[in-house]
């Protein structure tokens, strides 16, 4: 839970006849993380050559993938798994028949689409000529006449007549001007063009064709109709093929891809003329399983040797990092994915997943802090788990949402006593921002809020609570850092301890400032009482001497252990602590938004008068609360994660580990049977 899965380095040496069964066994067990052999590493060893299955499988795979692409099947979620035996039996035949039918249909489909586009372009070209009502073949092909068509802003008939009495012009009104068709003697072309240009001429291309424009367009529309029918038919046939063969094709592709990967494994290991050496890591708890499997598969042809587990006894190459397979109880698994987004931990350091699992929901709950919204998150999470069965990513998100929602409801019910921004009981004396409505009129819940989010004292209490959270969280981070460093450098571990002193000293100073709030006063009396008393007045505030002393001692130790420049980091630690006040800030901000929306919507519902008002109020209220729900959830989630990733991890986390990627692959579409 706190450390990744223990790994053991193993070496397999055997004769080349045993290579294929060994590789197959390793792929089926999915247990070995291969240490790749780089060509030229050792004299006498070289990388192997692919197993025989490789080239035939690769060829089939290429054909299969192009089939999948033309059918558009690439990103489908898995259906019913197909047995491997069935795949191997039917694949050859299926490939041949499908290849032919799909490729011919796909080609004809492309052709039909191209012709449709041509026809549509023709229609667009001919359309402007409909008003002129002249057959298209009369508009081109002349030697001594130039024909120009387009739009002008105003009539040019008179000017044209002046320019050339033989010229003819047809003018029709179109939207925004006049459509003109000009026939003029060819030698007058430049003058005519200039004349037209002065009138704002915008030219049409003259299409080729015969017959009246209307007829041409009519014919083209009919052609497009029948072409579309053809297209629909081809699409239907392809859909039929898709439905019948989708599962089989996807399963075959997966099986072949795994086969090809397996066959290419020898390229990654060291071989000689007659032997091979496989070097890799295996989870310690599965080494026996591997040993017995090998004995069953290849007997004595392969020698299996365990090198010592890192950290116990002599390790051959200490710089070689063991791969990391995170190993946490089931509820914490979604947080492994969140951790992976940031970085995989190194093998030797503490795995922070379980701490994220404990802390993230609390921070999220504190920031959302509302019984209604918390219930909403639980509801949405359950809905996703019920409806989305196949995407693991969504399901993990749903689990995180449910956890967060539980804490949000808890804090909403017990700490802030409100649901959907409406408090359980009307606050006395203007506390809580002054919403006149409360849940008391509907159901009297016997919980009174210790903290009112929106009152003056409430905000200050929340701020102090945030700083306490900072102390605890950052303190935990520094303790984890201490544990991590203890193994290799006493000096860095002592530095972490010094940072703890600084952290505590800063906290006492901040507490001295927050002492007049309820929470601060409580802490002062019950937890830190003795420590605050001897005080000194600095900058107009009384600061506990012990806090300053801790700060001073810590600073000196840090300067000694980490170098003088590290003292600047004390300010950044202070910044990190203050950064936790975002817990209070977001909580209050979302509370204020809910209050504002309630102040708008609730009077419509309860004091509205007629049904219309009430209905409008309900709709408005629902939309606005949905907005707060989404924004609040998003903001709280991101900020809670950010506090973990940045402030917490900065205190101890190194990252940059190698994730455990065993040979072999999980089968989603096919099943080995």
């Amino acid at each position: 839970m706190l450390k990744p899965e223990p790994m053991t380095r193993i070496v397999l040496v055997g004769s080349k006849e045993a290579l294929e069964p060994t590789v197959t066994l390793l792929h089926d067990l999915r247990v070995l993380h291969l240490v790749e052999y780089a060509e030229g590493g050792e004299p006498g060893l070289s990388i192997g050559s692919p197993l025989q299955a490789a080239s035939a499988a690769s060829q089939k795979l290429v054909k299969l993938r192009s089939l999948l692409r033309s059918l558009g099947l690439e990103e489908r979620p898995p259906g019913t798994p197909v047995a491997v035996r069935e795949i191997e039996g039917k694949l050859e035949q299926a490939l041949v028949t499908l290849d032919l039918s799909v490729s011919t249909r796909a080609e004809s489909r492309q052709r039909v689409i191209a012709v449709i586009r041509e026809k549509e372009a023709l229609i667009r070209e001919v359309e402007p000529f409909v008003p002129f009502d002249l057959p298209l073949e009369h508009l081109s092909g002349y030697d001594s006449i130039v024909v120009l068509a387009g739009t002008v802003r105003h009539s040019i008939a008179n000017e044209l007549a002046e320019l050339s009495p033989e010229a003819e012009v047809v003018e029709v009104p179109v939207s925004g001007g006049l459509g003109v068709l000009v026939f003029a003697p060819a030698e007058l072309r430049p003058q005519v063009q200039r004349l037209l240009g002065e009138a704002g001429f915008s030219e049409y291309r003259i299409p080729k064709g015969t017959g009246l424009p209307e007829d041409v367009i009519g014919q083209a529309h009919k052609d497009v109709e029948s072409l579309r029918e053809d297209l629909a038919r081809v699409d239907e046939e392809l859909e039929g093929i898709r439905r019948r063969f989708a599962d089989f094709l996807l399963a075959s592709e997966e099986h072949l891809a795994i086969d090809v990967q397996r066959a290419e494994t020898p390229l990654r290991i060291a071989t000689t003329a007659h032997a091979f050496v496989i070097d890799g890591w295996v989870p310690t708890r599965r080494t026996e399983e591997l040993r017995t499997g090998l004995e069953a598969a290849v007997g004595t042809l392969v020698h299996f040797e365990l090198l010592a587990e890192p950290g116990k006894g002599h390790v051959e190459e200490p710089e070689e990092e063991a791969p990391v397979a995170l190993h946490n109880p089931r509820p914490a698994r979604p947080f492994e994915m969140l951790l992976g987004l940031f970085s995989t931990p190194q093998y030797r350091e503490i795995d922070p997943t379980i701490f994220m699992f404990l802390v993230f929901p609390v921070f999220f709950g504190l920031m959302v802090g509302d019984l209604g919204y918390g219930a909403g998150f639980i509801g949405v999470g359950l809905l996703i788990l019920w409806k989305i069965k196949r995407s693991e990513g969504w399901r993990e998100l749903a689990r995180v949402m449910i956890l967060g929602g539980i804490f949000a409801s808890l804090f909403g019910a017990l700490l802030f006593a409100e649901a959907f921004g409406v408090p359980f009981h009307p606050e006395a004396g203007g506390e809580g921002g002054g919403l006149d409505y409360s849940w008391e009129s509907v159901v009297n819940l016997p919980v009174h809020a210790p903290v009112h989010k929106l009152s003056d004292t409430g905000v200050k209490n929340l701020l102090v609570l945030s700083v306490v959270a900072a102390l605890l969280h950052l303190g935990l981070g520094l303790v984890l850092g201490f544990r991590n460093e203890l193994a290799h450098s006493r000096r860095h571990a002592a530095a972490k301890a010094a940072w703890l002193l600084v952290l505590f000293g800063l906290f006492l100073l901040l507490l001295a400032i927050g002492r007049w709030t309820d929470v601060g006063a409580w802490l002062d009396r019950n937890v830190f009482g003795g420590l605050m008393e001897p005080h000194v007045v600095l900058f107009g505030r009384s600061m506990p001497v012990i806090g300053l002393a801790l700060l001073g001692i810590g600073a000196v130790l840090i300067a000694v252990l980490e170098g003088g420049l590290a003292i600047m980091e004390i300010l950044s630690l202070l910044a990190n602590m203050i950064s936790y006040t975002r817990l209070a800030a977001i909580g209050v901000a979302k509370g204020a938004m809910a209050l504002a929306f309630n102040t708008i919507a609730l009077p419509w519902i309860f004091d509205g008068g007629n049904v219309g008002f009430v209905a409008a109020g309900v709709v408005l209220g629902v939309i606005l609360h949905l907005l707060v729900f989404l924004l609040g959830g998003l903001a709280s989630g991101i900020q809670a994660i950010r506090l973990n990733y940045v402030e917490f991890f900065l205190k101890f986390f190194r990252g940059g580990g190698v994730p455990f990627t065993p040979l072999g692959a999980a089968r989603r579409y096919s099943v080995r049977a």
């Binding site: 940031f342 970085s343 107009g540 300010l571 202070l574 940045v646 991890f649 990252g655």
Partner: protein, 76 residues
């Protein structure tokens, strides 16, 4: 917190300016670092952690403004 004289009012404004401008400065700093971090991430997913951490390094600037604002508040 009743403000009784002009001096106190000016101190309050000063506190506001201190935090406001500090926030603006930190925002400008983080803007560029953030853009570079996202660009680097687009090329190499593994840089997310380092990029995120570097993006929030300028937050210390806000702290300086906060401290000044705080000391001014003490003078009200």
């Amino acid at each position: 917190m009743a403000i009784e004289n002009v001096g106190a009012g000016l101190a309050a404004i000063g506190a506001g300016i201190a935090v406001g401008l500090a926030g603006l400065g930190a925002g400008l700093a983080e803007k560029d670092v953030g853009a570079a971090a996202v660009g680097a991430m687009a090329e190499n997913e593994k840089l997310f952690g380092k990029g995120l951490v570097m993006m929030v390094i300028p937050e210390t600037i806000i702290l300086f403004g906060f401290v000044i604002a705080f000391m001014l508040f003490g003078a009200i």
